[in-house]
């Protein structure tokens, strides 16, 4: 068996707020293989971004994180700040949703990428500039020699996202965590960014954790998918399996809720009644029970544990099935 690159076990994240504790993530487990693309899907507030941030210790101090996060076999949770700094950016790096607010508006993009390169690599000044140009070229920014001296506002949204990816790749990370990397972008630009991520995985072998609410993005790029609901994992399966044979009623609902190209105009979209529950109080029962057509007494009294429906397909539901 291939060695796991990243293993998250029983990760729970609680935030202390004025209105009491918010359970953003509840006993999440994830595993990532080298050069694998893992999609984490869910709606706003399901805990997908918090999960990702907690992996590299980027949560604010109000967060109480328990469980275990092992990167290449070594525990990251509770690791010293200096050790985390060595891993962040160098081994595990991040691309955020909003490329405009993640870049410093008053620094040339070349300088911003340079900063990352210098922080993590011991290179001469001349070599640093060479590396920056190489990175801009890697993410297919046309005319890098000119772009290197431009400011973020001179670039379009798609180009800025490419700069963000270049920064994330500065030190050849093992894992790239991309949090809604195409959400702020137009359709035709989004396609280019997804192609770029695919190419990077193939060329550099970078593993990618792809966080998104967009099932189309997952269908395009992910190898394996985790569906999250209210801070918990609802279902996990290889991408083809998940779309062809979804088991959790929430997954089935999500898939039916999206209008598909070519779908008959008279078919209705599947609705999921109700709304995502508040995370202030994690229920002692299935969090989806109040919106679920299959809920019964048991769903209202117990939290369903993940169970295996096939060797690589798990689901947290008392009544799994495609029905």
């Amino acid at each position: 068996m291939t060695e796991l690159l990243l293993e998250v076990q029983d990760l729970s994240v609680r935030f202390k707020t004025d209105d009491g504790a918010v359970h953003a993530v509840d006993r999440m487990s994830l595993a990532l293989l080298p050069s694998e693309v893992l999609g984490i899907v869910g709606e706003s507030g399901c805990g997908k971004s918090v999960t990702a941030l907690s992996i590299v210790g980027l949560l604010p101090s109000t967060a109480k994180v328990t469980g275990s996060v092992r990167f290449e076999g070594a525990e990251l949770l509770g690791a010293s700040r200096s050790r985390l700094r060595k891993i962040r950016g160098r081994k595990i790096s991040f691309v955020f949703q909003e490329p405009m607010t993640s870049l410093n508006p008053v620094l040339r993009i070349g300088n911003q990428i340079e900063e990352v390169v210098r922080e993590h690599m011991d290179l001469s000044r001349h070599a640093v500039r060479g590396r920056v140009l190489e990175l801009l070229d890697l993410v297919h920014i046309p005319d890098p020699g000119r772009r290197i001296d431009e400011y973020p506002h001179q670039l379009s949204g798609g180009m800025r996202q490419r700069v963000m990816i270049a920064m994330a790749l500065a030190c050849d990370p093992k894992i790239l965590i991309a949090d809604e990397p195409t959400t702020a972008l137009d359709v035709t630009i989004q396609a280019g960014i997804l192609d770029l991520l695919r190419e990077l995985r193939e060329r550099l072998g970078t593993a990618i954790i792809l966080i998104t609410h967009n099932l189309g993005v997952v269908a395009d790029l992910a190898d394996r998918v985790v569906v999250m609901y209210a801070g918990r994992k609802a279902e996990e399966a290889p991408v083809g399996e998940l779309f062809a044979h979804p088991q959790h009623p929430y997954t089935i609902g999500l898939l039916g809720a999206v209008p598909r190209p070519g779908a008959a105009r008279n078919g209705r979209l599947q609705e999921i009644p109700g709304r995502v529950p508040s995370l202030a109080q994690l229920p002692g029962h299935c969090a989806f029970a109040d919106r679920c057509p299959r809920a019964d007494e048991r769903s209202w009294s117990e939290v369903p544990q993940l169970r295996r429906v096939s060797p690589d397909h798990t689901v947290a539901c008392f009544h799994p099935g495609e029905g």
Partner: protein, 347 residues
């Protein structure tokens, strides 16, 4: 649309230019947001207006509703020219069209209860006696699937989907003949989008209003619309009945847009030919000469130099209402394809 039918909305040669203020890099330059856009919507018809950010689709919606004053062109609502009417003279027409905005958070007055928000148009247009307003509001809440108790709540107490329903109830309170919906679901979560889209379609069929549905999402437009217009950089590049546009896209931009749209099905999505356009949408401050799409067009080499000199006109290529503005598309002949293999869609 039969030719003898009076269109509910007729937009003819609509132009909207903005002059930039004296901010950084501004200095009196002009943004050519919408340029010579013409279309019409029949009674009971849903027209989708699709485009990426900066294409001018929202500006068209705002001009139609006179939230913006058009620079040139005419807007006729059920035959009446409303382009230059004063606020006072426009008022009787206002109740015939209403708009639902994209953001359900900023488009509802936070200091009014949801019931007051929905009842306000009724009061302003004097469509109901004071004693009747509440009853009408209750019925409107029911129509859009909101519990009547929610009319005493304030917008911040409601979820995004519920707020968008309040916006819809407000728009429908005046029984408009034309509803302008500007990306009404794009700020909502996926599971909530579905119910709002279903609702919008049910209400449209039941009440029979015309609708200008503005969206960047092709699948949503295909779900909801009878006819679709595709905008690029302030121009309509293609307009056609829904089935035809999705099955036989003609304009290279429409083809690219369809090929780039993601299909939530890995098998289909990974076997499709995807055409990624070069570069980005040019700035509407300095749109390219001639064909505005030429800087990104995969077929530019075939249409040059004509594409740089001459602006392509919208022509009816089938003779049955499929309009395309491209130098390479001719009436009666097959449209050029941007990819080797034809653009395959999930069907």
């Amino acid at each position: 649309m039969t030719p003898d039918q009076q269109p509910m909305l007729e937009v003819d040669g609509l132009v909207k230019h903005f002059t930039l203020g004296r901010g950084i890099g501004g200095g009196g330059r002009t943004v050519y947001a919408v340029d010579e856009v013409s279309f019409s919507i029949a009674p009971g018809e849903v027209l989708g207006l699709v485009g990426e950010s900066g294409s001018g689709k929202t500006t068209v919606g705002y001009c139609v509703n006179r939230l913006y004053q058009p620079t040139a062109g005419t807007i006729r609502l059920d035959g009446a020219d409303i382009t230059h009417l004063s606020r006072r003279r426009l008022r009787p027409h206002r109740r015939r069209m209403h708009i639902v905005f994209q953001d359900p958070y900023s488009s509802l007055n936070p200091r009014l209860t949801c019931g007051q928000i929905v009842g306000e148009p009724l009061r302003l247009h004097r469509l109901a006696r004071r004693s009747e307003v509440d009853g009408r509001v209750v019925r409107l809440f029911d129509d859009v699937g909101l519990r009547p108790e929610l009319r005493f709540r304030y917008p911040h107490e409601l979820s995004g989907g519920q707020r968008q329903r309040v916006g819809l109830a407000r728009a429908l309170s005046v029984s408009p003949s034309l509803l302008i919906a500007d990306e009404p679901v794009s700020a909502l979560d996926v599971s909530v989008q579905a119910s709002v889209l279903n609702l919008l379609r049910d209400l449209q069929r039941e009440l029979g209003f015309s609708c200008l549905f503005i969206s960047h999402d092709l699948a949503t437009v295909e779900f909801l619309c009878d006819r679709v217009a595709v905008m690029y950089l302030g121009k309509i590049v293609e307009i056609a009945p829904r089935e035809e546009l999705f099955a036989q896209p003609q304009h290279p931009y429409t083809q690219a847009l369809l090929s780039a749209a993601l299909v939530p099905d890995p098998e289909v999505q990974r076997t499709r030919t995807r055409v990624v356009l070069d570069g980005d949408i040019p700035s509407p401050v300095a749109p390219p000469s001639g064909c505005r799409f030429r800087t990104r067009c995969p077929l530019e080499h075939e249409s040059a130099p004509r594409s740089t000199e001459e602006e392509p006109l919208l022509i009816d290529v089938t003779g049955q209402g499929h309009f395309v503005a491209c130098h390479l598309v001719r009436r009666g002949s097959e449209a050029p394809r941007i990819a080797e293999s034809p653009v395959e869609l999930a069907r």
